[in-house]
Amino acid sequence: MEFNRHISRRLHEEHVATLALWGRLESALAAGRHDAALLKSAAASLERELDRHFRFEEAELFPRLAEAGEGDIGELLREEHETIRAAGMRFIKLVSDEITNPEVKRLGLELAERLVNHVQKEEMALLPALDDFIDEETDHELDSAYAAT
């Protein structure tokens, strides 16, 4: 999918990286492989995503989505953030403290599916909408602000 705004493209690139990493992790976990390095990489990536990507969308994009009359989609994405955040924090802690805990596999598979489904919705509904209700000046401001975080 092609996006016209810098901020959409930046978020899209992060989505692609997330999907690639969590796709690899999902395959490894489903095959019963316990790849500690991959688990740590996924946990570190998720921590950054929760802190930066999610927070930016909640503070800057979802309110704009609501102003544009797409509040229910914004609300849905926010609810998904909450669910992913709760599972993600537990996954990050387990990978850090008890990486061999069987709960790591279950949470990893759950998060892989949740992240894929969440990215699908953002790619379908959020990013294309940004092209409509963000002008070039706002796009530049948002992109700069995000790059600085």
Binding site: M1, D72, A86, E110, Q120, A125
Partner: protein, 414 residues
Amino acid sequence: MFGNVARSRLLPMSLPFRYFGAAAAFQLGAWALLLFFPTELVNFEIGLGPVFAALHLLTLGVLAMSAIGATLQLLPVATRQPVSALWAVRLQWWLFVPGTALFAGAGAAYRPDLLGAGAMAVVLSLLLYGILLFRNLLGARGMRVVVAHGWAALACLVALAATGLALVGRYEHGWAIDHQALRAAHLVLATFGFMGLLAIGLSGFLLPMLAVAPPPPQRVAYAVLGLALAGIVMGSLGWTLPGALAGLGAALLHVGAMERSLRARLRPRLEPSFLLVRVSWACLIACLALAALGFPGGTLLFALLLVPGWLLTFLLGVLARIVPFLASVHASSSDRGTPIIAALTPARLLAAHRALHLAALALLVAAALTGQAVLAAAGAACGLASATLFSAFFVFVLCKVRHGIQPPHQPAAA
């Protein structure tokens, strides 16, 4: 003209799901008719009767019904335009469902006097849908290639309705028209035109989304559309060979582009429902190859590969994935969170559904090749069983959404 615009592009769950529910019910009716009249199927000759009714239960009741429900929810996402009138959607459904039932019932009962009333209700409902589609496409932003397929499908829908009314006029009033030519045009416009173009157009963004893959290049998608339109026009005019060759070119290009897209997917795991999608593509190519070769094996084989083979198999593969996806969107709440799709996907039930549907296809193809009614009956029995499982899947999803979902990490047990 149309007030009561949807608040956003996300429709209330009851709107798309009433179409999917009706389609599940009509599919049961279609297979049941074939089960009770297998001899009529293998000896099918054009005209009213149970096979005519089963065909229209499938095309109108299942394929068009689901296509309308799916496009009402998916096109607003692709075009970034909300549906312009929710009341018109409800009215459309209330005209379309009884209209289809009456039309098929009249056909099955050899009652041309009732056929017209059913056809009028169906055409009125399709007119409403056409207006909704027209307004949505008119204000469309983004996904231009999907929008282009939408316009082409809309043009085919108009021509399809006109040819359908003319055919009913012949049955009911004995109009002097070239029945065979008009019937062939009606078939091409309905299957390759309206439903086929919607299926191909939406595939370009829906399947990559579901598989987490890049969409096919736009220039390829436009080439597919151009070739497909050329084939549809030629096929409708009775130029079977060039029409089939153009259609075959479009199909090969489309399937090749989609396969390349799927191979580049970011998520290694591909949902099992993609098996049905791939079988449907094989049936599409096979039926166009048969048409290009002059229909070896007979027109029944061609029709079986076209309607249950390509269109129905594709639809079932896609619905198995988007019904849980849409349900998870609507089941989300701030207190219980968003359920994962696996909790709304009864894996074993859907696996059995796939096996039975594919067995039904294989047996029907064997029946068409051998002329054995017993094979047709066995195929219809498998089809009816698969449609029953599909209905159970649909009810399962509704119950999960209505009565709450297991803790989100637990997969569905059914």
